[in-house]
């Protein structure tokens, strides 16, 4: 091969995209031709300079904006605000601000709710039915971590608060504890999130959740597809 031919192959040679036979020929040529070796060195330097290009990363609200656009287009089937929040939580770069905000809200509402007058309203479902959930072991060991589901429900439907507030004092059943592999990976990696997990689990699996939200008849079936 001539120097001109070799130089046309050098980029692919550096990229490992040549047949072994051609690669060997070029390697042999480079070991004897100083000019082509210098050309190869220039290409190596160009590749190094390319690594100085900034890696542009998505802005913090990129995922949230995407899901909003999707909903505006009607691409996402109507589902609960919890499901939407959970999805954004899974994909979001906005996780930490969201958690910080939720923590502040919970502290505030715990204070407010601790001063609520006693209520005589009877829960609409039995505690055993309401507790068919997987509870992470760390949460079960420290019931204090069970942030009152009612706090969240309260945000959505204050009038029905008492129906779900009974969960607060429900007994724990060790047989319902979740296995690690059943938990979301993000949760396993960051156990601090356990404090929020039971809320999410309860909201997802609570049998009377839809009743609490007073969804119109038929919409629930539609949501579940």
């Amino acid at each position: 091969m001539t120097c001109e031919t070799i130089r046309k192959e050098l980029v692919a040679y550096r990229d490992g995209e040549l047949l072994e036979r051609d690669r060997a020929q070029i390697a042999a040529h480079l070991s004897t031709c100083a000019a082509c070796a210098r050309e190869e060195a220039r290409l190596v330097r160009v590749s190094q300079l390319l690594t100085t290009l900034e890696r542009v990363t998505p802005s913090p609200d990129f995922a949230a904006t995407f899901w909003r656009r999707l909903e505006q287009e009607g691409q996402v089937e109507r589902d609960s605000w919890f499901a939407r929040w959970w999805r954004e939580w899974l994909t979001g770069w906005q996780l930490m601000p969201a958690l910080a905000g939720a923590a502040s809200l919970l502290v505030f509402l715990s204070y407010v709710l601790s001063n609520r007058p006693p209520t005589t309203t009877t829960p609409s479902a039995s505690p055993s039915a309401l507790l068919k959930i997987n509870v992470p072991a760390p949460v079960a060991e420290k019931p204090g971590l069970f942030v009152n589901y009612g706090i969240i429900a309260d945000l959505d439907k204050l009038a029905h608060f008492d129906e779900v507030a009974a969960l607060e004092n429900a007994p724990q059943d060790a047989s319902t504890l979740a296995r690690t592999e059943d938990l979301p990976p993000a949760l396993v990696e960051n156990p601090n999130l356990f404090v929020h997990y039971p809320i999410l689990e309860k909201m997802e699996q609570l049998q009377n959740f839809e009743a609490v939200l007073d969804l119109p008849a038929g919409e629930d079936e539609q949501r579940r597809g």
Binding site: K8, V11, A12, D15, G16, E17, L18, L19, E20, R38, A41, R42, L43, R45, V46, S47, L49, L50, T51, T52, L53, E54, R55, V56, T57, P58, S59, P60, F62, A63, T65, F66, R69, L70, E73, Q75, R87, L90, T91, G225
Partner: protein
């Protein structure tokens, strides 16, 4: 080119995720979105030279993936299919004629708190100010050169260098032969070499 073992698209775990999404598993789509959105944003930003529009384009790419879930047929790796969509969106954007002005800076964004987000420059020693400046100047010049080369050369070089794709994968994205990709990458590299000649000469090459 080297004969490599050819896997079927179904061997690609991301294709499997897309197939799961096709059956209604939205979480599978979330995984794909989470995995690939940074790469698509990066690709579009360097292709268009504008960070803000790149994010919009990247979102349109994933919107299209979402819309096409029912029509999706695995014919290649998921990543090549995705970048094919991304490349088409970027080319359409360029054809609108809004990007004739060479290249706006991809300088750090200012976030909502007013703080600058740092650029992700690779492994520079903060003590060596001159080297950092030189690297920044080189990056800016590369960006301008990239913006001047034809779109298919730019795509071939960026996918090959920035996304680590093989010529075969780039060929699938561009819908051309591996030989054509080899030529595109070569010509784009030559343009870079010419445009950076003084920097290369500084290093006694």
């Amino acid at each position: 080119m080297e004969q490599k073992e050819r896997l079927t698209p179904y061997d690609d775990p991301d294709v499997q995720l897309m197939l799961r999404f096709q059956t209604g598993d939205v979480e599978a789509f979330q995984q794909l979105f989470h995995k690939y959105s940074p790469s698509v944003v990066n690709f579009a930003a360097h292709f268009l030279g504008t960070r803000a529009r790149a994010e919009e384009i990247a979102q349109e790419v994933f919107l299209q993936v979402y819309r096409w879930q029912k029509r999706y047929e695995p014919k290649a790796k998921f990543s090549t299919w995705l970048f094919k969509i991304a490349n088409n969106h970027c080319l359409n954007e360029v054809r609108k004629g809004e990007y004739r002005v060479p290249h706006e800076s991809l300088e750090p964004l200012v976030d909502s708190q007013g703080d600058e987000r740092e650029r992700d420059l690779p492994d520079t020693n903060p003590g060596k100010g001159e080297e950092i400046l030189a690297a920044k100047e080189a990056a800016d010049r590369i960006q301008k050169i990239l913006h001047r080369v034809p779109g298919n050369q730019r795509t071939a070089l960026m996918l090959s260098r920035l996304e680590g794709m093989s010529y075969q994968e780039v060929a699938e994205v561009l819908g051309c032969t591996e030989k054509a990709v080899k030529s595109l990458v070569f010509r784009a590299t030559q343009s870079l070499k010419e445009g950076l000649r003084d920097i290369l000469n500084d290093h006694d090459l």
